[in-house]
């Protein structure tokens, strides 16, 4: 019972954060709302019993990735965005598609979901997840790691400055 109440509370916080994310005009406030969304999602995972996923959600998304978001906003010194009244496309296509998607999701959950999960019924401790990752899902796991490696190499290539030594050698120093 307590689990269910907490689940609903965090769900409400999560949705409120997501709506606030869109409504805020300043990028840093949007980023902070996104942190609220991530943190309350972690709380939802924890309430469902997936402790490991909850902890990883906080460490990776709320703790590391969002710090980088906030950093970029701080470094670029992004200002307040102007509020426009939206394009006509958003009104004529966006709203109907949103409604359609909502109806589809409700229909799928109520009619075609065969399993229902009660709060706290999942069993997601680190050992189980580790075994799944290194037995059943070994190939996707390793492929993902190679993908991340490629991303790291790309970042190093893009951020590296190979001509730095030449520039320093060519520019005469002022105090010389």
């Amino acid at each position: 019972m307590v689990h269910l109440i907490l689940f609903l509370v965090f769900g409400a916080v999560c949705v409120a954060g997501a709506i606030n994310l869109i409504l805020q005009t300043h990028p840093i406030q949007s980023a902070l709302s996104l942190i609220v969304v991530m943190a309350s999602l972690a709380a939802e995972y924890l309430l469902l019993g997936a402790e490991f996923v909850a902890a990883v959600q906080v460490i990776v998304y709320a703790g590391a990735i969002m710090v980088l978001f906030v950093f970029v906003i701080m470094l670029l010194n992004a200002g307040t965005e102007e509020v426009t009244h939206g394009s006509k496309i958003a009104e004529f296509i966006g709203l109907p598609s949103l409604l359609l998607l909502g109806v589809l999701m409700v229909w799928a959950v109520t009619h075609h979901s065969t399993t229902s999960v009660a709060a706290g019924s999942l069993y997601g401790d680190p050992k189980t997840i580790g075994r799944l990752l290194f037995n059943q899902y070994l190939l996707p796991f390793e492929v993902t790691s190679i993908l991340i490696l490629i991303a790291i190499m790309g970042a190093v290539v893009l951020a590296g400055r190979p001509e730095m030594s030449n520039i320093q050698a060519d520019t005469p120093r002022k105090d010389a």
Binding site: I28, A62, V67, V70, M74, P126
Partner: protein, 350 residues
């Protein structure tokens, strides 16, 4: 399930813990001023009370009655929220630290830890502590940004980059211990370190091949808590006071409390993970036997705190590029090598 006594015990524990932690923080500041004073051949605080022992109280009163200035050019909501974020995450991470085995009082089996109902420990305690400490970065990052001051901004950028970089080495240095213990539960990790090797060497992780990991952890922990030699976010010779330049009175005190509470948490974690937690020789009547583990635990934590102060009194500050190069090019590969060797060792033994 009887809910009321559980909540009551939890509330009492939280109150006691916050009281003890804040007093400890105040007296660590006193100890630091005393010890650094002796290292630099001066006396440190002597005027308020015997040995300056009432100095923390005087400081606290000063912080509270000082005028709470808010500069006109700051972004107010985040300027106020930033010190709160820093102190809340610093104080809440201590909730997961177990200080000893269960303590039986009036028929209730009370775990010496705020979290964990009925003696059970959270299965992912260590991960949750890491998550809480990584959320603490926001306090510092937002303080620098909302102050609208270039020194604050530079300080918070340095702090953020430094904390993210060293978090990786810190996390990797812990995995060796986790492989040896086979659990994320802090209680389980301490229990796996009970007993002796033949002879008198205790079965602590630091003596079980994790000594390199211990030094990686120690170095990274200094960087995580922004202490000398890695205190670049508040390097006063370059950045005035770094991210808390614009803060005064109680808001400044909150950053101060957060830093020292983080020091305590880091010292507790080092004790639990590498120095056997509350394990130690037990002797004497039952009451002494019940209290000795607590004593061992606090002695070990105190040793770490003292080491922090000692290092502060003796080491110069790193340059920023040296700090980054040291973290990424030395500590990180060393931590990975340690992890691989530990994994091979455990696989060979199994």
């Amino acid at each position: 399930m009887n809910f009321l006594p559980y909540i009551l015990i939890a509330l009492i524990k939280i109150a006691v813990m916050i009281g003890v932690l804040l007093t400890a923080v105040a007296y660590i500041v006193w100890l630091e001023r005393k010890v650094v004073g002796r290292i630099q051949n001066r006396w440190g605080p002597t005027r308020v009370g015997p040995f300056g022992l009432l100095q923390p109280a005087a400081d606290g009163i000063k912080f509270i009655i000082k005028e709470d200035l808010t500069p006109p050019h700051v972004y107010k909501p985040l300027f106020i929220a930033a010190p709160l974020i820093a102190v809340v995450f610093a104080l809440s991470s201590i909730a997961l630290i177990p200080f000893g085995n269960n303590f039986t009082l009036f028929g209730y089996d009370i775990p010496m830890q705020i979290t964990g109902a009925g003696g059970g420990d959270i299965n992912t305690g260590l991960l949750i502590i890491l998550g809480l400490t990584s959320m603490g970065v926001y306090g510092i990052a937002l303080a620098g940004w909302s102050s609208n001051n270039k020194y604050s901004m530079l300080g918070s950028l340095r702090a953020g980059a430094q904390m993210i970089s060293y978090e990786i080495a810190l996390g990797l240095s812990l995995i060796g211990v986790l492989i040896l213990a086979g659990t994320f539960s802090l209680r389980g990790i301490v229990e796996s370190q009970g007993g002796h090797f033949p002879g008198y060497i205790p079965h602590w992780n630091i003596f079980r091949g994790q000594i390199v990991a211990f030094f990686i952890y120690l170095t990274a922990a200094y960087a995580e808590t922004n202490r000398i030699p890695f205190d670049l976010p508040e390097a006063e010779t370059e950045l005035v006071a770094g991210y808390h330049t614009e803060y005064s009175a109680m808001k400044f005190a909150m950053f101060f409390m957060a830093e020292y509470a983080n020091m305590v948490t880091v010292a507790c974690l080092a004790t639990l993970l590498f120095l056997g937690g509350w394990n130690g020789p037990l002797f004497g009547p039952p009451l002494v036997q019940a209290l000795l583990p607590l004593l061992w635990f606090f002695l070990k934590v105190f040793a770490f705190i003292f080491l922090y102060i000692w290092v502060r009194g003796t080491m110069p500050r790193f340059r920023y590029d040296q700090l980054m190069a040291f973290g990424w090019k030395f500590l990180l590969p060393l931590a990975i090598a340690n992890l691989i060797i530990t994994a091979f060792f455990v696989a060979y033994r199994a």
